[in-house]
């Protein structure tokens, strides 16, 4: 063993203690210090630093349990109010939407189980409205041309316009004069 070997090994002892040596170098140091008291002592010095530092830190920076508990009370998140699952949150909207859809379908008569009054070939509300007095008045105005002649008038000549003018005037035939406002 030469002095240069010893110097080289001693230069590696710090890295050995710090875990910075590759496996091969570490084995070389292990083998050397078994035979060399000086290098073994140097390695022990290096290795003693870590437990000394750790022991001092553990003792000096020891937290008081009551202080840790006080901080714990401040940092633990409070339980959030239990959130409803999405299907529960959307339930009211779903119910309203379904009811509105059903109402629309029922109103349009497109449902197979729709009430009979709205089924095909039945009078609808629109048809009922066409048989209003207005339609009746229009029919009455056309009555002379469309209705069959009365038995008493069958042989009589066609009615004169004067007779027609004697009939009571309907609102539809009354002339209306519209004057512009000054």
């Amino acid at each position: 063993m030469t002095d240069s070997d010893r110097d080289h090994i001693i230069s590696l002892t710090a890295d050995y203690a710090l875990g910075l040596l590759a496996d091969g170098e570490r084995r070389r140091v292990d083998a050397h210090v078994r035979q060399c008291a000086a290098c073994r002592a140097a390695l022990r010095r290096e290795l003693s630093i870590e437990p000394l530092a750790r022991g001092a830190i553990l003792q000096a920076a020891r937290p008081a349990p009551e202080r840790l508990a006080a901080v714990r009370a401040a940092v633990i998140p409070r339980p959030a109010p239990r959130a409803l699952p999405p299907y529960r949150r959307l339930a009211p909207i779903t119910v309203v939407t379904v009811l509105m859809g059903l109402g629309l379908l029922l109103g349009s008569g497109r449902l197979p189980f729709a009430p009979a009054v709205y089924a095909d070939n039945t009078p609808t509300l629109t048809v009922t409205h066409t048989q209003t007095p207005t339609a009746t008045l229009a029919a009455a105005r056309l009555e002379p041309a469309q209705s069959p002649p009365a038995p008493a008038q069958a042989a009589a000549p066609a009615p004169q316009p004067a007779a027609t003018s004697a009939a009571p005037q309907t609102p539809e035939t009354t002339p209306i004069t519209v004057t512009a406002a000054p």
Binding site: A14, D15, Y16, A17, L18, G19, L20, R26, D30, V33, R34, R40, A41, L43, R44, R45, E46, L47, S48, I49, E50, L52, A53, R54, G55, A56, I57, L58, Q59, A60, A61, R62, P63, R67, L68, V71, R72, A74, V75, I76, P77, P79, A80
Partner: protein, 203 residues
């Protein structure tokens, strides 16, 4: 002669030993289980406090860092990515960042006041009198030596010696490359060895 190596590497603190437990705890936290938050806090609060106290040297500052760190970590727990780092590494990174902010804020006023008062700035890592009383003579010397390290070297030394982090994770915590962490650790170790030459290597 004993054939055993002087340092048994298997004895070094491992970071992945409790990884599964931690992952389970985090999962329970995210599902809203409050007792899981308590367990997670109890598991790591001591380490965060010690780290903060070792870096700042003030119990109240360390408590504030502890509280800030856990509040932030719990609020952002869903952002933790176990594929990138261990939970402890992530948490220590949060704590170190807050320690740096606090040190920066405290340094400015204390510097200006000490100039006018003529007082020496207090050693940031010096324990308070009551805490100092709990240390034996050797621990007091070592603690003072750790406190004399520059903040950059002290960060690396504490993360290595106390927390037992590998250099890659020290780099993640400090935001530096692993090689930089290694070289800082060499400097810190050398400084401590020189200051502790009287007691280092004693049986």
């Amino acid at each position: 002669m004993n054939d055993q190596p002087l340092l048994n590497w298997a004895d070094l603190p491992a970071n992945d030993g409790a990884a599964d437990d931690t992952a389970g705890l985090i999962g329970r936290c995210l599902s809203g289980e409050q007792p899981a938050y308590v367990e997670l806090y109890d598991l790591f609060s001591g380490g965060v406090y010690r780290l903060a106290y070792s870096l700042l040297g003030d119990a109240q500052d360390a408590e504030e860092v502890l509280q800030d760190s856990f509040e932030y970590a719990f609020r952002r727990l869903n952002h933790f990515d176990a594929r990138k780092s261990a939970f402890k590494t992530w948490l220590y990174r949060i704590a170190v960042s807050r320690c740096r902010n606090k040190r920066r804020r405290k340094w400015l006023p204390s510097f200006s006041l000490s100039v006018f008062d003529g007082d020496e700035p207090s050693d940031p890592a010096a324990p308070l009198p009551d805490e100092r009383a709990q240390l034996n003579e050797q621990q007091r010397v070592v603690w003072a030596a750790v406190g004399e390290l520059s903040p950059k070297l002290r960060e690396v030394a504490i993360l290595r010696y106390y927390a037992g982090l590998p250099y890659g994770e020290i780099g993640i915590v400090l935001g530096i490359p692993a090689k930089t962490a290694e070289s800082r650790m060499r400097l810190a170790h050398k400084a401590l060895r020189e200051r502790l030459s009287d007691i280092a290597g004693e049986e």
